[in-house]
C-alpha cells in the first residue's frame, strides 16, 4: 500500500481567547484556534463556534414573514424575545438597539439602558450589544448600555474606523469587549485592531467583525475575508488573531430570496424552506471559513447550524 503521509501545517500563531459573560452571568469562551476550522487531525481548536441570536429593542416592522411567524409575539418585548432565544438554543444574545436610529424612533440613553436591563434580567446568557449604526447615536446608547451591564463583560459595538474611540474607551473603563467592524478588507481590519490596541484595549477584549454578505449577495467576500484573516492569524500576525463575528442572519433576511413568495420563479421553491436554507447555508459557509460567533435569526436555521457545529466538533 502506498504510504500516505498527511501534510500538516506548522502554524506559528494562535487566535486569542475571549471570554464573554461573567459576574453572575454564564460565560462563553470563543477563539483560541491553532488551526483552520474543524481540522482536528492537525491541532485541536478548544472552542467550537457559538450562535448568537438577534434580539431588537423594538418590534421589527420590516421582518420577513417566516421570521415573524417563527417568533410570534415574543418580538414585542426584548426581554420576552431574549427568553425565547434561550429556548431556541442561543449561546449568546445579540441585542440591537435599533430604536435609537434617527429614522427609527431616535430614542436616547435612558431607553437603551432600560432595554439592556430588561434583557439582562430576563436571561443569564452573555450579551452582545450593538447600536443603530449611526456614529453619534452609537456612542450615546452604547455608553449607556455599558454602564447598565457593568461587571457582566458584554461585547459592545460597532467600533468602526472613523468611530472607534468612544466605544473603545467605554469598553476599556467598564471591562467590556470591543467589536471591531471593517468592510471586507484585511488591511482595514488589521489597522482597526491596531488602533484599538494602541488605545489600550487588551488583546483578550477584541472581537472582529470583518463583515460578510449573504448567500448570493457577497458571501464569497465574507468567506474569503474570514479565511484570509484566520490564515494571517495562524501565520503569526497578532493583529488579526482575534475571534471573528459575522452577521449571517441580518444579511440574509434583507434579501429577496428570504422574503419574496409571490412573483418569483417556480425554481425558487417554497419561501419558508428557501429562506431557512438561505440562512443556514450562509452561516455554514462562514463557520467553515473561520467565524467564531455567528449571529442568526430563524429558529430552524439556528437548530440546523447548532447540530452542524456539534457534528463538526464532536462536542
Amino acid at each position: 500500500m502506498p504510504d500516505v503521509e498527511i501534510p500538516l501545517e506548522k502554524w506559528t500563531g494562535k487566535v486569542k481567547e475571549v471570554k464573554i459573560g461573567g459576574g453572575g452571568r454564564k460565560e462563553v469562551v470563543v477563539g483560541g484556534e491553532s488551526t483552520l476550522p474543524f481540522l482536528a487531525f492537525e491541532s485541536s481548536n478548544p472552542n467550537p463556534p457559538k450562535i448568537a441570536i438577534e434580539v431588537h429593542d423594538k418590534e421589527p416592522t420590516t421582518w420577513a414573514a417566516p421570521l415573524l411567524s417563527a417568533w410570534g409575539d415574543a418580538v414585542k418585548d426584548p426581554g420576552t424575545w431574549a427568553k425565547k432565544a434561550v429556548e431556541f438554543g442561543a449561546d449568546l444574545i445579540c441585542l440591537k438597539l435599533l430604536s435609537a436610529h434617527p429614522e427609527g424612533g431616535n430614542t436616547g440613553p435612558a431607553e437603551a439602558k432600560a432595554s439592556v436591563e430588561k434583557v439582562l434580567s430576563a436571561v443569564d446568557l452573555p450579551l452582545i450589544i450593538l447600536g443603530p449604526g449611526v456614529a453619534e447615536k452609537d456612542n450615546e446608547v452604547i455608553t449607556a448600555a455599558s454602564d447598565a451591564a457593568k461587571g457582566q463583560r458584554v461585547a459592545l459595538g460597532n467600533c468602526e474606523e472613523k468611530n472607534y474611540r468612544t466605544i473603545g474607551a467605554v469598553c476599556l473603563s467598564d471591562g467590556h469587549i470591543a467589536i471591531a467592524k471593517t468592510p471586507l478588507d484585511i488591511n482595514l481590519c488589521k489597522q482597526l485592531n491596531i488602533m484599538l490596541s494602541d488605545m489600550g484595549v487588551p488583546a483578550d477584549s477584541i472581537i472582529m467583525d470583518p463583515d460578510t454578505g449573504a448567500l448570493g449577495y457577497g458571501i464569497e467576500y465574507g468567506y474569503s475575508i474570514n479565511e484570509r484573516v484566520r490564515l494571517a492569524a495562524l501565520g503569526g500576525d497578532a493583529m488579526t488573531a482575534f475571534p471573528i463575528l459575522n452577521h449571517a442572519g441580518g444579511e440574509v433576511w434583507r434579501q429577496k430570496e428570504a422574503r419574496a413568495s409571490d412573483g418569483v420563479p417556480d425554481a425558487w421553491g417554497d419561501l419558508e424552506e428557501r429562506s431557512i436554507i438561505w440562512e443556514a447555508v450562509t452561516a455554514t459557509s462562514v463557520i467553515n471559513a473561520g467565524c467564531d460567533i455567528v449571529v442568526m435569526c430563524h429558529p430552524k436555521a439556528i437548530e440546523r447550524i447548532k447540530s452542524t457545529i456539534e457534528k463538526l466538533t464532536g462536542k
Binding site: M1, V4, P7, L39, I219, S224, E227, R254, E273, G314
Partner: protein, 450 residues
C-alpha cells in the same frame, strides 16, 4: 509545479543540434519552461525523458469529464486550497441520485423535475448537471431498465452506481456513447471495473472506506492499467470526517503532488444527513471544501437554488467581479414616457434592479455607469459612482433623446448624491428611488407620472 529550465535541460540530449530551432538544448529548455515551445520540436528526446517531463507538467488534480456533448461535466484541475489565492476553476457538479427501486412513475417525475430545473442569476442560466443512477435493487435487469428510462428522457450526464461488475457492464453497454461515469471500483471488483472503464472509455470512480492508503493503492492500480480518468470516493459521509478527509486529499494533491490522489472527489451528503435541509448544509460544505461532484438525494428547488448560488459565488474569480458592459439597457420595451433609472455595472446590482422593474411591469431605460463592477454602495465609497460619473454617463448616452421627460431615478442607497447631481444636470429632475430594488414597483406606482 512547473519545472525550471535547468530541470528540463537534464532530460534533453545536450547535443545542441539546433533542429528544434534554438541554438542550444539549454535555450530550448528555457523556452519550454516559459511554455514558449513544444517538447515535440526536439526529435531526440528519449521516451523516458518525455514521460518524466509529461509527468512533471501534469496538473496536480486531473481534469475529468463525465458525459459527452454540450452538457458534459468537467471537474478537477483545481490549483489552490483557498479561493483568494487565485480562484477555484471548475464548478462543483451537482447531480441528483435516482434509485432503480423507485417506480417508473417516480423516476419519470424526478427526471422531468431535474432536467427542466433552471434558474437565472446575474444574466446566466444554471441547472442541475446530471443524474446518478443507483442499482439499489441489486438486480441487473432492473438497473438496465432504469438507466434506459433516464437516458431516454434526458441528455444530462450520468453516473452509474453498482458494485456488481456484470450489472455495470450491461448498463454501460446501453449508454456507452454518452460516456457515463462508472461508480465504483472497490478492492473487491477493481479488476473487472478497470476492464470495463478501459473498454468503454468511461471515467471510473474508485471507493475505499479503509483510509487514503487503500484508496491510493486502488487508483495506482487503475492508472497503472491505463485508466487515467478517475474520481475519488474516500467513503467519508459525515460533516467532520468529510471536511478532514477532503482537506487532506486536496493538500496531498497540491502541496505534496501526491499523484494517486490527484483526482476530483465525489461526495454523497444525503448519506450523512437525516433531513433535506441538513443535506443542503452538508452539500454546501462540500461545495466550499473540496467536493468536485456532489450527489444530492432530496431534490428540491429551494435547496437547489441555494447550492447553485453558493457554487456560483465561490467559483467566481476573486479578482474580477462579474460585470456588465456600461451603457443604456432597455428593460422590456420602454417608450418616451418610461422611467429612466441609474445603476452600476456590477452584474448582481444590474440584474437585481432590472429584474424588479421587469416583474413589477415597468418598461424602463436603465443607465448603467462604469463602476468597474462594483455595487452601488461599494462603488460610491470607492469614489466610482459619484454625481460627475452619473451626469457624464447620462450625457454620453444621449438619454435625453430617448425620452420626452427629464426625470432620472437614482438608487436610494446614494440619496446623498442628489444635491450634487442637481448641479451637474441642471435641467433634470433627480428622483431618489428606494434603497432596495424590491421596492421599486411600489415606488414607481406612487411617484411616476407620465
Amino acid at each position: 509545479m512547473a519545472l525550471t529550465g535547468i530541470q528540463i535541460y537534464k532530460f534533453l540530449p545536450k547535443t545542441n543540434c539546433k533542429e528544434c530551432g534554438f541554438p542550444t538544448c539549454l535555450a530550448f529548455a528555457m523556452k519550454l519552461a516559459q511554455a514558449g515551445a513544444e517538447l515535440s520540436a526536439c526529435p531526440y528526446v528519449s521516451d523516458e525523458g518525455k514521460a518524466a517531463l509529461a509527468a512533471a507538467s501534469k496538473p496536480p488534480i486531473r481534469l475529468v469529464t463525465i458525459g459527452a456533448g454540450e452538457k458534459k461535466i468537467e471537474v478537477g484541475n483545481e490549483t489552490v486550497m483557498f479561493r483568494h489565492e487565485k480562484t477555484f476553476v471548475h464548478p462543483t457538479g451537482l447531480v441528483v441520485r435516482i434509485k432503480d427501486t423507485s417506480s417508473a412513475d417516480e423516476v419519470a417525475k424526478t427526471v422531468e423535475a431535474v432536467k427542466s430545473y433552471s434558474v437565472d442569476r446575474v444574466g446566466m442560466t444554471f441547472g442541475m448537471d446530471g443524474f446518478a443512477i443507483e442499482n439499489a435493487s441489486g438486480d441487473s435487469a432492473t438497473f438496465v431498465k432504469c438507466v434506459e428510462a433516464v437516458s431516454s428522457k434526458s441528455d444530462l450526464p450520468l453516473i452509474l452506481m453498482s458494485s456488481d461488475a456484470s450489472s455495470m457492464s450491461a448498463a454501460v453497454d446501453r449508454v456507452k456513447a454518452a460516456k457515463p461515469a462508472i461508480y465504483a471500483a472497490t478492492k473487491d471488483n477493481i479488476d473487472q471495473m478497470i476492464e470495463l472503464a478501459k473498454s468503454s472509455g468511461c471515467p471510473l470512480a474508485v471507493r475505499s472506506s479503509d483510509g487514503l492508503g487503500e484508496l491510493a493503492e486502488l487508483t495506482e492500480k487503475a492508472a497503472g492499467a491505463g485508466v487515467d480518468d478517475l474520481i475519488l470516493d474516500p467513503g467519508v459521509r459525515g460533516f467532520a470526517d468529510s471536511l478532514v478527509t477532503l482537506t487532506q486529499i486536496r493538500r496531498l494533491a497540491l502541496a505534496k503532488r501526491f499523484e494517486p490522489l490527484g483526482y476530483p472527489v465525489i461526495t454523497f451528503p444525503g448519506e450523512g444527513a437525516s433531513s433535506l435541509d441538513e443535506e443542503a448544509v452538508l452539500a454546501a460544505q462540500h461545495i466550499a471544501k473540496y467536493g468536485n461532484i456532489v450527489v444530492i438525494d432530496c431534490f428540491s428547488p429551494a435547496a437547489a437554488l441555494a447550492l447553485i448560488t453558493l457554487r456560483l459565488n465561490l467559483y467566481t474569480d476573486p479578482q474580477k467581479p462579474i460585470q456588465m458592459k456600461p451603457g443604456t439597457y432597455q428593460v422590456g420595451e420602454p417608450k418616451e414616457t418610461s422611467p429612466v433609472c441609474v445603476t452600476t455595472n456590477f452584474s448582481l446590482t444590474y440584474f437585481s434592479i432590472a429584474g424588479e422593474l421587469e416583474s413589477a411591469g415597468w418598461p424602463s431605460w436603465l443607465v448603467v455607469c462604469d463602476t468597474e463592477g462594483l455595487s452601488v454602495l461599494t462603488a460610491w465609497s470607492a469614489g466610482k459612482f459619484d454625481a460627475e460619473k452619473i451626469a457624464k454617463t447620462i450625457k454620453g448616452e444621449n438619454v435625453a433623446e430617448k425620452v420626452n421627460h427629464k426625470n432620472v431615478i437614482i438608487p436610494g442607497g446614494v440619496a446623498v448624491l442628489r444635491g450634487e447631481l442637481e448641479e451637474e444636470l441642471p435641467d433634470w429632475k433627480i428622483m431618489v428611488g428606494p434603497r432596495e430594488a424590491m421596492a421599486v414597483g411600489g415606488y414607481l406606482k406612487e411617484n411616476w407620472k407620465s
